[in-house]
Symmetry: C2
C-alpha cells in the first residue's frame, strides 16, 4: 500500500461515512448467531502434543507431497548416518536402497558403518519428536533439532501403518539388535513393537528401514539429485545407491581423510538474550559471577568478566543464582557494552576451495570453474562461513535459461524452497550484469552456469523445520554476496576475454576475406605478376595478424 | 544439475579414478581424531521441550528481527481478539496501543470486547505452547495451532524478562481478573507470577499487555500496514490504533453485521490418511463400522458406509476397535475407491465481491477496480475458497515498478515471505501480458496495480508456524490462478479500451489539425466564401468524429 496510492489512513475515522455494507443491512449489533460464552470456549481448550502438531503440519517437516516425502526420508537418514560416522571418526561408507512396494509405496533402507546406537537410546531417537544430542550444543553438524528421523518414522506410520525398523551393532564383539518402533502421537512417546538380537555381518553400524507412501521421480529435486549433490559436498564419503529399478550407482570417495572435525563451542556473550541469561544464571553451577562468565561463555577472560561485573555494578563474587530480573538486565547491558573477542572461528569445517572445485568438476562438464571459501563471520554470536563455486559454459547447459543453483548447509543439499532462501535472495540482489551475464530485475541471472553456495555454521538458521532454505540474516546475506562477487569477478574476466577474443576473430576473418580483393586491386595498379600478388597478400595477412595479437 | 551439463552419474564409480583430494594425503582410514563410541554419544541424548525448541528457533514463529517481532506480537493478539469476538457473536471493537519504553523496547496492549476467558484457562492459553481450542477442529479461523500468543509471551520474557499481563472479564456481573504469567521453557508450563481481582470498566472482554524487544517502523511490512490491511479484510470490525508517537487512528466498521459464521466440519474420508484412520478406529465410541463411518466423517451416508464396508470385505457391524493394520488398510483402500460427495462448501466465510471492492476503494485511490469471489474447492479433504481484487492506475502508483500485492489468509494479512507463497507463485505463473501488462520471465508483472488475494479455509496450510505464506498445493494454486485470470480479463478490457481511446484521440487530433488546410484548398478550388468554407470544415469534422465513434 505504501508506495502505491494509499489514502491517508490516520483520518480514516472521519473520512469513511460508515456507509453500511452493500450486502448487509445497517442495524444494531444484535446478531442472530449463537453467542458463545467464555465457559463454552473453555471446554474446547486442550493440550496438543508435538507429534499431533507435526502430524497435522507435516508439510513443515518436508512431507508435503509423496515425491518430497521420499526425498526427506532419505535425507534425514543419510544426514544422521554421515553425522554419526564423522563424530566417531569413521570415514563414512553408506548404502541407500529404495525398493518399490507398489506405485505409491516404497521401502527405504539406509545403512552406515558408524558406531551404532546404545540399545536403551534407540526407541527415543526414532520414536519421539524433539529428542537428540545435537540441540543443546553449538557444533557444526547436519542434524540440529532432534526431529528429522523420528518425523520420517511418524510419516511412515501415518501413511502405511508400518513401524520403523532399526538394526544397530555397536562393535565387532557386541550383538546386533533389531527394533520395530512406533510413535504414540498423542503422548509423543515411543512404542517398541519388536525387540530382539539378530545376526548381522558388519563389524559396527546402523541400518534403518521404513515403508512410506511416496512416488519416485528423476530430476534435480529427486533422491538421485540429492545423492549426486551429497557426493559433491562430501568428497570423503563413499555412497552406494540402489534405485527402485535396481540400478546401482557408486560414488567413491575423492578425499581419503575426514574433514577437520568441527569443534563444539560455548555461546558467545553477545549472542545471548536477556531471558536466556536469566535462565543461565539460575541454572549454573558456578559459585560466583566471575566463574559464571568465564565458565559458561566463550571469549570471556577473567579480566573481561571483572570489567563486565564492574559495568553492571555487581561484585565479581556475586552469587549468580541470586540474580533477579533487574540484576540480569544490568549484566546484560554490561555484556553488550563490553568489547569482547569475536567467537572462535576455527571451529568450523568448510569444504575448501580445492575440494569444491574437484567436486563440481566431477559432476559438471564446463569450460570454466571458479571457487572461493571465505573467512568465518558471526551472526547472533554464531560463527559461520560461506563458500561458493561456479561452473560456466558446458555442452548441454542452456545459455538462455536462468542459472542452475545448488545450495548446501553444513554439507547437506537443499533442494526445495529455493525462492525463500537467503542464498537465492543474495544471488538475485547481486549485479551479474557487471560480470557479463543477463539479468532481469528481481530475477536470477541467465546463462550456462551451475552455481554452488555452501554455508557452514555451528547453528544454521533455517526458515522451517524441513531445513530447505536459510533464513535471511543480514550478516549471512552480506557474506554470501561477497562470495558471489568473488566468483563473479573471476567469471567476468573469463567472459570478457571470451568476448574480446570473439571480436578479434570476427575482425580477422573480415580482413582475411578482403585481402584477396586488395591483392587483385594492387595487381592491376602496380602491374605485378600473380606470384608477386600472392606474396603481397601473404605478407599483408601476417602483418595484420601480428598487429592484432 | 539435470537440465545443466550433469555428467552421467550412474557410471560415477568407474569414472572417478579415486584420485586423492588435493588437500589430503591418500592413506588408510585410520583418522587421528578421537573416536567416539555409541556409549559416548548416548550420554548426550536428551529431551527437548517444545518451548526450548521455539526459543532457539524463534524465527520460525516470526520473531526473527525486532521490527518483525513487534508486528508478530500485534498480529497474534489481534487475530485472537477477532476470533474470540466472532465466535461469541460480538461485533469486534478493538483497541491497539503501542508505547515506546526505550528505543529498542516497546509495550504492546491489545484490548477487545470479546467474551473474556475463564480464569482456570488463562495461564495455559498464555503460558504454554501448543495449547488451545482451534487445533483439533476443522473450522475457518485466524488462529489454528495454539502457539501464537504464548510464543509472543515467551519472546517478551526472553528479551525483556517481563511476564505477559492478562486482564479478563467474562461478563457485566462478573469480576475482572488480572494475571501475570511466565513460561517455564524447560517444561513448557505456565508460572503464574501474580493473580488478583481488579476493577475494570468494560462489560466484558480481554486486555493483554506485553513488553518486548522491538523496533517500530513505518511502511508496508509494519504494524501500520498490518492494521490498514486488517481493516480492508474485516469490514465488520472497528479498530482503534494508538501508535508509539501517540497518534490515534480510527478504522470504523463498514459492514454492520457479522460475516456469516463459519461452520465446524468433520473430516472428509478422502482426506484422511491410513495412520489417522487406524487411530480413529481405536479411539471411536461407535460400536460398529457403519456408525463409525457415518458418525466420524462428513459426507458418508449409511448407504455409502455399507458400500465402503462391502468393498473392504468387512461386515458393517464390525467393531472398529478390533481393526488391525490390515483391516484398516482394506478400509482405507475401500474409502479411496468409493465415490463420495465433496466436502460441504457452505461452511466457509469469504469476504465477498462487494465488500472486497468496498474495502479496497476505502484504502486505495485508483481509476479501475475489479473483484472476484470463487466457489469453494477442496485440497486434501479441506474446503477452501479464493477471492481476488485489484485496483489499477491511481495517482502516486508507479507505473514502472512491480505490482503491489496484498495477501490474506482467513482475513489475516500476510506481510512477510512473499516470494515463498502460493499466491506469489500463482501471480508469477499467470500470463499478465495477455491483459496488457509488462512482465519479465519468472517475475511479478509491472504496473500501477494493487492486487489483493484472499484464501479462506477450515485449515490453511502455511509454509511455517509464523503463518506468513501459503503452501503451494496444486489445487490451491489452480484456484488462485483462475481468480487472477478473472480479474485480469476485466483489467485487460479496461486497459485495451484505454489504449484504443488513446489511439482514437491521436488520430482525431491529427485530422483536426489538417481540416483547416483542406478547407483552404477547397475554397481555392471551388471559389467559395469564408463562411461556406467554415461550414464545410465543421461538417467534415462532425462526419469524421461520427465515423470514429
Amino acid at each position: 500500500m505504501s508506495g502505491a496510492a494509499a489514502k491517508k489512513v490516520t483520518a480514516g475515522g472521519r473520512r469513511a461515512a460508515a456507509k453500511p455494507a452493500a450486502t448487509g443491512k445497517a442495524r444494531k449489533a444484535t446478531p442472530k448467531v449463537v453467542r458463545l460464552t467464555a465457559a463454552d470456549m473453555a471446554e474446547k481448550q486442550r493440550e496438543i502434543s508435538v507429534s499431533e502438531f507435526f502430524t497435522k503440519n507435516r508439510h513443515l517437516l518436508g512431507f508435503d507431497s509423496p515425491a518430497k516425502a521420499l526425498l526427506t526420508t532419505v535425507k534425514e537418514a543419510v544426514d544422521n548416518a554421515l553425522d554419526a560416522c564423522e563424530e566417531a571418526g569413521i570415514l563414512p561408507d553408506l548404502l541407500l536402497e529404495i525398493q518399490e512396494v507398489s506405485e505409491t509405496r516404497y521401502r527405504v533402507a539406509v545403512q552406515d558403518n558408524g558406531p551404532g546406537i546404545v540399545k536403551a537410546q534407540v526407541p527415543k531417537i526414532f520414536g519421539q519428536l524433539l529428542y537428540g544430542s545435537k540441540f543443546h550444543r553449538l557444533r557444526q553438524s547436519r542434524g540440529q533439532q532432534g526431529i528429522g528421523i523420528s518425523a520420517a518414522a511418524m510419516y511412515g506410520q501415518l501413511t502405511t501403518g508400518r513401524p520403523i525398523t532399526v538394526v544397530s551393532k555397536p562393535g565387532p564383539k557386541k550383538p546386533a539388535h533389531r527394533f520395530d518402533i512406533q510413535i504414540d502421537t498423542r503422548r509423543n512417546t515411543p512404542v517398541v513393537v519388536a525387540d530382539h538380537e539378530v545376526e548381522w555381518i558388519p563389524e559396527h553400524g546402523t541400518r534403518l528401514e521404513l515403508e512410506i507412501e511416496a512416488t519416485y521421480k528423476k530430476g534435480r529435486h529427486s533422491v538421485d539429485g540429492y545423492i549426486e549433490q551429497t557426493a559433491i559436498a562430501n568428497p570423503h564419503a563413499s555412497l552406494t545407491y540402489v534405485d527402485p529399478k535396481g540400478e546401482r550407482s557408486e560414488y567413491p570417495r575423492v578425499a581419503h581423510e575426514l574433514p577437520k572435525p568441527p569443534q563444539e563451542i560455548k555461546p558467545h556473550p553477545h549472542g545471548v538474550e536477556l531471558g536466556i541469561l536469566l535462565k543461565m544464571l539460575h541454572d549454573t553451577k558456578a559459585k560466583n559471577l566471575r566463574g559464571f562468565l568465564t565458565g559458561e561463555f566463550s571469549r570471556v577472560s577473567p579480566a573481561a568478566a571483572d570489567e563486565i561485573a564492574k559495568t553492571a555494578m555487581l561484585p565479581p563474587t556475586y552469587a549468580p543464582h541470586k540474580a533477579a530480573r533487574d540484576q540480569a538486565e544490568s549484566l546484560y547491558k554490561a555484556i553488550q557494552a563490553t568489547k569482547l573477542m569475536a567467537p572462535p572461528s576455527n571451529v568450523l569445517s568448510p569444504i575448501g576451495e580445492e575440494l569444491l572445485l574437484e567436486g563440481l568438476r566431477k559432476q559438471v562438464d564446463a569450460k570454466f570453474f571458479a571457487a572461493t571459501s571465505r573467512s568465518p563471520a558471526v551472526y547472533r554470536g554464531n560463527p559461520f562461513c560461506v563458500e561458493a563455486a561456479l561452473a560456466y559454459g558446458g555442452e548441454g547447459m542452456p545459455g538462455d535459461e536462468l542459472i542452475t543453483m545448488l545450495r548446501f548447509a553444513n554439507r547437506v543439499p537443499l533442494l526445495y524452497q529455493q525462492s525463500a532462501c537467503a542464498v537465492t535472495k543474495s544471488v538475485v540482489q547481486t549485479n551479474w550484469k557487471a560480470y557479463g551475464l543477463q539479468q532481469s530485475r528481481g530475477a536470477l541471472p541467465t546463462g550456462p552456469i551451475v552455481l554452488m553456495v555452501h554455508i557452514a555454521s555451528v547453528w544454521v538458521p533455517f526458515t522451517s523445520e524441513s531445513k530447505e532454505s536459510v533464513a535471511s540474516y543480514p550478516e549471512i546475506m552480506k557474506e554470501i554476496k561477497l562470495a558471489l562477487q568473488d566468483v563473479g569477478r573471476k567469471l567476468g574476466i573469463f567472459i570478457r576475454r571470451g568476448i574480446r577474443e570473439a571480436d578479434e576473430e570476427k575482425k580477422r576473418s573480415y580482413i582475411e576475406k578482403y585481402i584477396p580483393h586488395i591483392g587483385i586491386a594492387l595487381q592491376e595498379i602496380l602491374k605485378i605478376s600473380d606470384k608477386e600478388r600472392d606474396k603481397v597478400c601473404a605478407t599483408l595477412k601476417t602483418t595484420l595478424e601480428r598487429s592484432r595479437t
